[in-house]
């Protein structure tokens, strides 16, 4: 885990080879992104066991489709898309939804007002995840890493390859949509 991981271009050049170098590249990708992917996937599928299953499938899919990725976008954006699709397929197979069967609530209200006091942590967590699920991929990616993982825009920019200004705009769009979704739920 503490070995030096080269830049993305080097990782890709190794990954696209047909010899042992490709496995080295996969090892770098696992070392670099497995923790971040774990937390992201666990928010979606909730349990450690399911997260482990999905995470393994994600890396196997990266390996299987390694030649499809040609570096036109940031590597982690491509991986995130695979992870999201894999998690959603998993939930569909399990006939579950991203917003139910929570082991522990993702969020709860700071202060129980008369209005919000009626909303349980599980309910608001489920609605929040439903709202996140409605977002376009890029906004979902940015919102998850900004809101849940507390990454700075500069750090997200390294993962997505986008500009900080563009990330801010996307984040506020995402927040606006989530607010609208939650308001709708709270008013019912």
């Amino acid at each position: 885990m503490h070995q030096h991981i080269p830049d993305e271009a080097t990782i890709l050049s190794y990954l696209h080879r047909e010899d042992a170098h490709a496995r080295i590249a996969l090892g770098w990708i696992i070392d670099q992104h497995s923790k971040r992917l774990y937390t992201t996937i666990r928010r979606w599928v909730k349990t450690h066991e399911d997260t482990n299953d999905v995470l393994q499938e994600v890396f196997l899919k990266i390996w299987k489709n390694k030649h499809q990725f040609q570096g036109n976008s940031a590597l982690f954006s491509w991986i995130y898309r695979i992870a999201y699709n894999e998690a959603m397929q998993f939930l569909k197979r399990e006939q579950r939804h991203v917003s139910v069967d929570l082991d522990a609530p993702l969020v709860e209200f700071h202060h129980s007002s008369l209005h919000f006091g009626k909303i349980t942590p599980d309910e608001i967590s489920a609605w929040l995840m439903e709202a996140v699920e409605t977002l376009p991929e890029k906004q979902r990616f940015i919102f998850e890493h900004k809101y849940f993982d507390d990454l700075k825009y500069e750090e997200i920019a390294l993962l997505t390859g986008g500009s900080v200004g563009g990330l801010k705009a996307n984040y506020f769009h995402a927040v606006k949509k989530i607010e609208d979704y939650l308001k709708t739920k709270l008013n019912h």
């Binding site: 047909e18 196997l60 969020v107 929040l128």
Partner: protein
């Protein structure tokens, strides 16, 4: 209801997503590699069959060469060699004289033909080291060996011994 200035998500307290320790991620990596489809395995050089065969053959060759070579880098043929240093001209002639009945005419002719420039002369100064057609410097020293014996003398000798050789066999 919330005002436009304050977002609902700002009122939310986030929980923490549990993250396993490094051991889990090390095992995860191993599990993933275990599940990869087998690729062309890199077989260590020393495990390749042809390499083992080559090494065995090389060892056999080295043993053979070591056995047949002396320490002076002088190769010895596998068959018995003639140490011309130890055989004088008179001894050679005496041997031929005693055993001429055992020599076939064709064999003698072939030998005469194969050493056209060799003549029996003074005692041998070196060893016959090789039997191939390329002549080493040592072999060239043997040129003097038969220089004092003319082919005609040999023919005369064979004639006296009632051995028939035609001109073609003798290469004359």
């Amino acid at each position: 209801m919330k005002t436009n200035e304050q977002h609902i998500i700002d009122e939310l307290k986030k929980g923490t997503t549990p993250v396993p320790g490094d051991d889990y991620f090390a095992q995860l990596k191993q599990d993933i590699f275990d599940r990869l489809e087998p690729t062309v395995k890199i077989i260590p050089f020393y495990k390749k069959t042809w390499f083992i065969s080559a090494v065995a053959a090389s060892i056999a060759l080295i043993v053979s060469v070591t056995y047949f070579f002396d320490g002076n880098e002088t190769p010895k043929p596998a068959v018995a060699t003639v140490d011309w240093n130890s055989v004088s001209r008179n001894e050679i002639l005496a041997y031929i004289d005693d055993n001429i009945a055992d020599f076939e005419a064709e064999t003698i002719a072939q030998h005469l033909d194969s050493i056209p420039n060799w003549t029996l002369a003074k005692p041998v100064v070196g060893k016959i080291t090789r039997t191939n057609t390329a002549r080493s410097k040592k072999e060239e020293k043997y040129d003097d060996l038969f220089k004092d014996i003319d082919k005609q003398d040999i023919l005369k000798y064979l004639e006296e011994e009632d051995i028939e050789l035609d001109e073609e066999m003798l290469g004359t």
